[in-house]
C-alpha cells in the first residue's frame, strides 16, 4: 500500500499532465495542424521525389510562390472578415490582360500601367464589397457571379486582342527588372509579396483596421453592437482582395507575358485550399497571415510535386480536391472540438496526502473545538455589497472593501451606514493594505497590484513578474493576485493564488491540488517585480511578523501556515508554523494581543482528503461529470482562529450554523472589534472581541515597528 502510494506520488510529481491543457490553450496551437501537414507533406513527397527540398528546387518555385501567396492573402483577408472571394482568379486574369494590353499594345509607361491594373482589381473588389457589405448579398453567390462576369469580359477581350497584347512593342527597364532580375536570390515578385505579407501581418495584429476585420469576422453582430463600421470593413476586405489578386496578375504578366484564356482558371479553388489548409477558418475571425503563408507553401509544394509525379490526366485536380475537403473537415472539427478538448484535459489533478485533521468536536479539548461565538455579529452593508474579500479600516476608522463588481466601497465611520464607491478598479479587488502614507494598496484579481491614493488616484504598481523558462503558460502575467502586506523597508509581498485558473474558477484549483501559486515581491525603490517562491498550493493570506524580517503566509489547499524570512540572518528560509489545519486557511492579519488572526474559508472533510490522494478519481470525475456535480471542498462553515508567533492556537471563533458568516476569507481587528469579510458574502460582519484592546489599530501596530 505504501509502495503504491509512493509510486502514485512519484508519477504525479514527475509526469507533467497539466502541460497538455496549457499547450491547447495557447493561441499558436491553431498553427500546429498546418505545420504538421507541412512536415508530413515534405516527408512523404520529399521521399518520393528526389531533390524536392533542395534549395535550387525551392528557388525555382519562388516566383510562383509570390503570386500564389498574394492571392492566398487576398482570400485570407476576406475570409477573416467572414466572407469568401471566388473572383480572385478572374481578377488575376483581368489584371494580367490589362497590364499586357496597356503596356504591349498601347505602349503606356509601366509605372502608369501597374497602378491602373491594380485599380481595375480594386474596382471589381469594390463591386463585390458594395454588393456584399452594403447590400448584404451572399458572398459566395455574389463573387461566383463576378467570377463569371469578369472571366467573360477577359475572354471577349482575348478573342479580340490576344495576339496583339502578347507582342511587346516597347521596352522598359523597370519592367525587365521586375520580370527577370533577382535581388538577394529572390525574384521581385517574392520580395514585394513578402513585404506585403509583413505589412498585412502588422495591420491585422497591431492596427485598428486589422482589429476591425478580425472583430467583424469573429462576430458580426457583436462588432456592430460595439459600434464598428461593419459594412465598410467588409467592403474594404473585398477591395483589398481585388488589389492583391490584381498585383499577382501583374507579376504573372511580367513572368510569362502571355494572355491565354486559361490564365487564373481554378486559382480561386487553389487559393481557398491553401487558406484553409493553412488553418484559416472558413467561418471568419480566426486566422493569420502566417497561416496563409503556411498554406501557400503546402499547396505550392503539393501541386508542384503532383506535377512531377506525372499523375494521369485529372489526377492533380482530384488530389487537390481531396486536400480541400480534408482541410475543411479538419477546420470544422477543430473549431468545434478544440474548446471541448481543452476543457476536458485542462484540469489535471495531482497527488496530495494531507496530515490528519485535528479534532473539532464541540466540547472536546481541541483548540479548534466548535462553538457558536459568531452567531450574533453586527452586519454592515447587508445586501448592498457583493464579495468583500478583505475588509480594512483606515486611520480615521472608515471601512473599505472590494466587491465583485470591481469597486472598492468605503463605509463611513462611525456607524458604517452610509457608503460610497471609493474607486472603480475593473477587476475584483481582493487583499487590501494601507501603507504609511495612507495609500490603499490592492491586489486586483485578473489585473495585478494597484495603489490608490487618498485622492482616489489609481496607480498600477505591477502587473507582470519574471517569466519562468519552463512554464508553458505565460506566467509573467498575473492572473489571480490575492493578498499582500508591506515590509518595513517598503517592499510589497503579495501572493498569486494560482497561475492556471482565473478568479471565476478559483475553486477548480482545489481539484488539482498542485502547487500552482506563488509569492511575488514588488520593490518600489527599483520598480522591479520578482517571484520569490513558487509551486505553492494556493498561497493566500500574507501578514508581516512583528520581527520586521519575516512574514506568515497561508496555503489554502495545503492547509498550512508557513513563515518566510526576507531579511536578517535567516533570509530566504521557510518554515511551516502550523502544519495541519482542520480547514482551508485564507487571510492572516495581526491581532491586538501579539498574535495573528487566521480566517478559514472552509473545513476539511475526510472524503475530500481521500479524493486528494486519488488523482485518477478526480480526473475521471472532471471528465465524466457535469461541473455542478463535482466534489469540491466544503465551504459552508465560518471559522476564525488566532495563533501566536510559535503557531500555537490561542483562540477559535465559529459560526457553526453558517448563516451569518459562512466562508470567511478575512478579518481585521480594529479598536476592539473584529471585522469579517467573505468573498461570496453580501455583508461585512462586526464582532466585539471580549477583552479586546479598544485602542489598538493595525496602523499603530505597523507604525510602532517602523519606528
Amino acid at each position: 500500500m505504501a509502495m503504491r502510494e509512493t509510486l502514485t506520488r512519484l508519477r504525479y510529481r514527475f509526469v507533467p499532465d497539466h502541460i497538455l491543457g496549457e499547450i491547447l490553450a495557447k493561441s499558436w496551437i491553431d498553427n500546429a495542424i498546418p505545420v504538421a501537414i507541412l512536415i508530413l507533406t515534405l516527408c512523404v513527397l520529399g521521399s518520393m521525389i528526389p531533390g524536392l527540398v533542395a534549395v535550387g528546387s525551392l528557388l525555382g518555385m519562388s516566383a510562383q510562390f509570390g503570386e500564389l501567396l498574394l492571392v492566398v492573402m487576398a482570400m485570407t483577408i476576406v475570409m477573416l472578415a467572414g466572407g469568401i472571394d471566388l473572383s480572385v482568379g478572374s481578377v488575376f486574369a483581368l489584371a494580367n490582360f490589362v497590364t499586357l494590353a496597356l503596356f504591349n499594345m498601347l505602349g503606356w509607361p509601366i509605372l502608369v500601367v501597374i497602378p491602373v491594373a491594380i485599380l481595375c482589381g480594386a474596382l471589381v473588389g469594390l463591386v463585390n464589397g458594395i454588393l456584399i457589405g452594403y447590400l448584404r448579398l451572399r458572398a459566395f453567390l455574389t463573387t461566383l457571379v463576378t467570377l463569371i462576369i469578369v472571366r467573360s469580359i477577359v475572354d471577349m477581350f482575348i478573342l479580340e486582342y490576344a495576339v496583339k497584347v502578347a507582342r511587346p512593342t516597347t521596352l522598359s527597364r523597370i519592367w525587365d527588372f521586375i520580370s527577370f532580375k533577382r535581388v538577394l536570390g529572390m525574384p521581385v515578385a517574392l520580395i514585394v509579396c513578402l513585404a506585403i505579407a509583413i505589412l498585412a501581418h502588422l495591420t491585422l495584429t497591431r492596427l485598428r483596421p486589422g482589429w476591425h476585420i478580425m472583430a467583424v469576422g469573429g462576430s458580426r453582430r457583436s462588432a456592430f453592437n460595439a459600434g464598428l463600421p461593419v459594412r465598410r470593413t467588409i467592403a474594404m476586405t473585398y477591395v483589398l482582395s481585388g488589389m492583391l489578386a490584381a498585383l499577382a496578375g501583374v507579376f504573372y504578366a511580367s513572368r510569362l507575358n502571355a494572355a491565354g484564356s486559361d490564365t487564373g482558371v481554378g486559382l480561386e479553388v487553389l487559393a481557398l485550399t491553401a487558406a484553409v489548409v493553412g488553418g484559416n477558418s472558413l467561418g471568419g475571425g480566426r486566422g493569420s497571415v502566417f497561416k496563409a503563408v503556411l498554406g501557400a507553401i503546402i499547396i505550392l509544394i503539393l501541386s508542384n510535386s503532383l506535377l512531377r509525379l506525372s499523375l494521369p490526366t485529372g489526377g492533380t485536380s482530384a488530389v487537390l480536391g481531396f486536400v480541400l475537403i480534408a482541410a475543411v473537415a479538419i477546420d470544422v472539427k477543430w473549431v468545434k472540438h478544440r474548446d471541448k478538448l481543452q476543457t476536458s484535459v485542462y484540469v489535471s489533478p495531482t497527488f496530495l496526502a494531507l496530515g490528519k485533521a485535528p479534532e473539532t468536536a464541540e466540547g472536546s479539548a481541541s483548540p479548534y473545538a466548535l462553538n457558536n461565538l459568531l452567531k450574533d455579529v453586527e452586519l454592515i452593508g447587508l445586501g448592498e455589497i457583493d464579495g468583500p474579500e478583505d475588509p480594512i479600516l483606515d486611520a480615521a476608522g472608515n471601512l473599505y472593501c472590494g466587491t465583485r463588481h470591481g469597486d472598492i466601497i468605503r463605509f463611513f465611520a462611525p456607524d458604517f451606514t452610509s457608503k460610497e464607491v471609493f474607486v472603480h478598479t475593473g477587476g475584483h479587488p481582493l487583499g487590501l493594505a494601507f501603507d504609511r502614507d495612507g495609500n490603499l494598496l490592492a491586489c486586483v484579481a485578473g489585473m495585478g497590484l494597484y495603489r490608490i491614493g487618498p485622492d482616489k488616484k489609481i496607480t498600477r504598481l505591477s502587473d507582470q513578474t519574471n517569466r519562468s523558462w519552463l512554464s508553458v503558460i505565460d506566467d509573467s502575467r498575473m492572473r489571480l493576485a490575492d493578498d499582500l502586506d508591506i515590509a518595513p523597508d517598503g517592499r510589497i509581498f503579495f501572493s498569486e493564488a494560482t497561475i492556471r485558473f482565473d478568479m471565476s474558477d478559483w475553486m477548480v484549483d482545489a481539484l488539482e491540488a498542485r502547487g500552482n501559486g506563488r509569492i511575488i515581491c514588488y520593490d518600489p525603490s527599483t520598480g522591479s517585480t520578482r517571484t520569490i517562491m513558487d509551486k505553492l498550493r494556493f498561497p493566500n493570506g500574507i501578514t508581516m511578523a512583528r520581527d520586521g524580517e519575516s512574514f506568515f503566509f497561508a496555503e489554502t489547499w495545503g492547509c498550512c501556515v508557513s513563515r518566510y524570512w526576507f531579511a536578517g540572518a535567516r533570509t530566504g528560509q521557510r518554515e511551516v508554523v502550523i502544519p495541519d489545519l482542520p480547514g482551508y486557511p485564507d487571510n492572516i492579519n495581526r491581532a491586538s494581543d501579539g498574535g495573528y488572526w487566521l480566517a478559514m474559508v472552509g473545513m476539511r472533510t475526510p472524503i475530500f482528503d481521500m479524493a486528494l490522494q486519488n488523482p485518477g478519481f478526480r480526473k475521471r470525475m472532471v471528465e465524466r461529470v457535469a461541473p455542478d456535480e463535482w466534489l469540491f471542498p466544503n465551504m459552508n462553515y465560518g471559522c476564525v482562529i488566532k495563533f501566536d508567533e510559535n503557531g500555537r492556537i490561542t483562540d477559535c471563533l465559529w459560526d457553526s450554523r453558517g448563516t451569518n458568516h459562512p466562508m470567511i476569507t478575512s478579518m481585521r481587528e480594529h479598536e476592539g472589534w473584529l471585522y469579517l469579510g467573505g468573498v461570496s458574502n453580501n455583508r461585512i460582519g462586526r464582532y466585539r472581541i471580549p477583552g479586546g484592546d479598544p485602542t489598538w489599530t493595525a496602523h499603530a501596530s505597523y507604525r510602532g515597528e517602523a519606528r
Binding site: S57, L159, A258, D262, L307
Partner: protein, 343 residues
C-alpha cells in the same frame, strides 16, 4: 618468391582486364563514331514538358524519347501540366533549377514560354521546341509550318466551295487556342489565301480551345445559323471530330466539307477520312516527328551548343494531304505500334 607472386598477380589482373574490356569490343566493332556517340548520351538528363500527355501527338513523341532513353541510358523525365499554362511554366522554371542536359518543350502559346525558353538558354540549357513554334527559337524546332498547313487546307476548301462549285461559298473557321501558333499563323494563311477567292466568305471564326465538345457546340450553332454552309476549316483532328459530330447530327454529312489536320494517327485521321467524317486532312506525321525529335535530342546531347539558343535549327515536318483518293495503307500510323516498336 615475393616478386614472382607479385608478377603473377599483375599478370592475372592484366589478363582479366583485357578479358573484361574485350567482351563488347568483340561484339560490335568500333567504326570510329558509334561508341563515342552512344557514350555521349549515357547518363544525360532529358526533360519533356508537353501541353498534356494522354493524346496521340505527345504520346507518340514520348514513345520515341522513351525508346532512346532505354537504348542509350539517358534519363527522361516527363512533367505533365495537363493543359495548364501556369503549371507548365512552373514545371519549366523548376527544370531550369534542376539543370538537365536538354529541355524539350511543347509550348501551348506563342508567348507563354518565350521568356522561360530564353531563361533556360541563358542558364546554359539547350531547348528543343516541338510542334508549336514559340517566339523564342531555342536550339531546335521540330514541327510543321503552320502557315503552309493552313494554306493547304484552304486550297482544298476552295476546290470544294469555290468558283463554279455551285455552292454558297460560306465557310466557317474553328480555331484552337487563339494565342497558339496554329491559330495565329493559320488564320493569317486562311485570310491570305482567300484574298484571291472573293466568292468565299468566312461566316464564323471562333475558338474552341482544342476542345471537341466546345467545337461541337459552336458548330451546331453555326450550322443552324447558316443552313447553306459549305464547309468548316478545322485546325486539329482531335477537336474537329466535334464539328463532324455536329454535321452528322444535322444530317448534312457529305454536304458540308470538313478540312482538318493533325498528326496522322490512324484513328484520328485515316479512319475519319474513310468514314467520311473528314473530307480532307493535312497530316504532319507525328510518327515522323517523333523520329525527328529523337534525332534532335541525340544531336544536342552529342554536340552541346557552347552558347545555347545562339544558333537555331528548324526541322520543319513535311506535310501530306490525305483524302479518300490519295489515302494508302501507310498514310497513317497506329499509336500502339509506335509505343511497341518505336517510330
Amino acid at each position: 618468391m615475393i616478386h614472382f607472386m607479385k608478377g603473377c598477380a599483375i599478370a592475372a589482373s592484366v589478363a582479366m582486364g583485357v578479358l573484361a574490356s574485350s567482351g563488347p569490343l568483340q561484339a560490335a566493332p568500333d567504326d570510329g563514331l558509334i561508341n563515342e556517340s552512344s557514350a555521349a548520351l549515357k547518363g544525360k538528363k532529358v526533360a519533356f514538358v508537353p501541353i498534356a500527355m494522354g493524346f496521340d501527338l505527345t504520346e507518340a513523341w514520348a514513345a520515341g524519347l522513351k525508346l532512346d532513353a532505354q537504348r542509350f541510358g539517358y534519363e527522361l523525365t516527363i512533367r505533365d501540366p495537363n493543359w495548364s499554362v501556369d503549371a507548365g511554366a512552373q514545371a519549366i522554371s523548376q527544370l531550369i533549377s534542376e539543370q538537365p542536359d536538354v529541355i524539350v518543350v511543347h509550348p501551348p502559346e506563342i508567348q507563354a514560354y518565350t521568356r522561360l525558353i530564353q531563361q533556360a538558354n541563358a542558364a546554359g540549357i539547350p531547348v528543343i521546341t516541338v510542334s508549336l513554334k514559340a517566339d523564342a527559337n531555342g536550339d531546335v524546332f521540330v514541327g510543321p509550318d503552320w502557315y503552309d498547313l493552313a494554306v493547304k487546307e484552304t486550297e482544298s476548301m476552295v476546290k470544294f466551295c469555290g468558283k463554279d462549285s455551285g455552292k454558297s461559298g460560306k465557310i466557317a473557321v474553328m480555331q484552337g487556342v487563339l494565342t497558339n501558333p496554329t491559330s495565329q499563323y493559320g488564320i493569317q494563311a486562311i485570310e491570305a489565301t482567300l484574298k484571291d477567292h472573293p466568292e468565299i466568305q468566312i461566316v464564323s471564326n471562333q475558338a474552341a480551345d482544342w476542345d471537341a465538345s466546345k467545337a461541337h457546340a459552336i458548330a451546331s450553332t453555326v450550322i443552324k445559323a447558316n443552313p447553306d454552309l459549305c464547309g468548316f476549316i478545322g485546325l486539329w483532328d482531335n477537336m474537329d471530330v466535334g464539328i463532324a459530330a455536329a454535321i452528322k447530327e444535322a444530317g448534312k454529312q457529305g454536304q458540308i466539307y470538313i478540312a482538318s489536320s493533325g498528326g496522322g494517327n490512324q484513328v484520328s485521321a485515316c479512319d475519319n477520312i474513310e468514314s467520311g467524317n473528314f473530307s480532307s486532312y493535312v497530316s504532319y506525321d507525328a510518327k515522323g516527328q517523333a523520329r525527328d525529335l529523337m534525332m534532335a535530342v541525340r544531336a544536342i546531347l552529342q554536340n552541346k551548343p557552347t552558347t545555347p539558343g545562339e544558333h537555331s535549327v528548324g526541322l520543319y515536318t513535311p506535310l501530306k494531304v490525305i483524302t479518300k483518293e490519295t489515302m494508302t495503307a501507310d498514310s497513317c500510323w497506329k499509336l500502339e505500334d509506335v509505343k511497341k516498336f518505336g517510330p
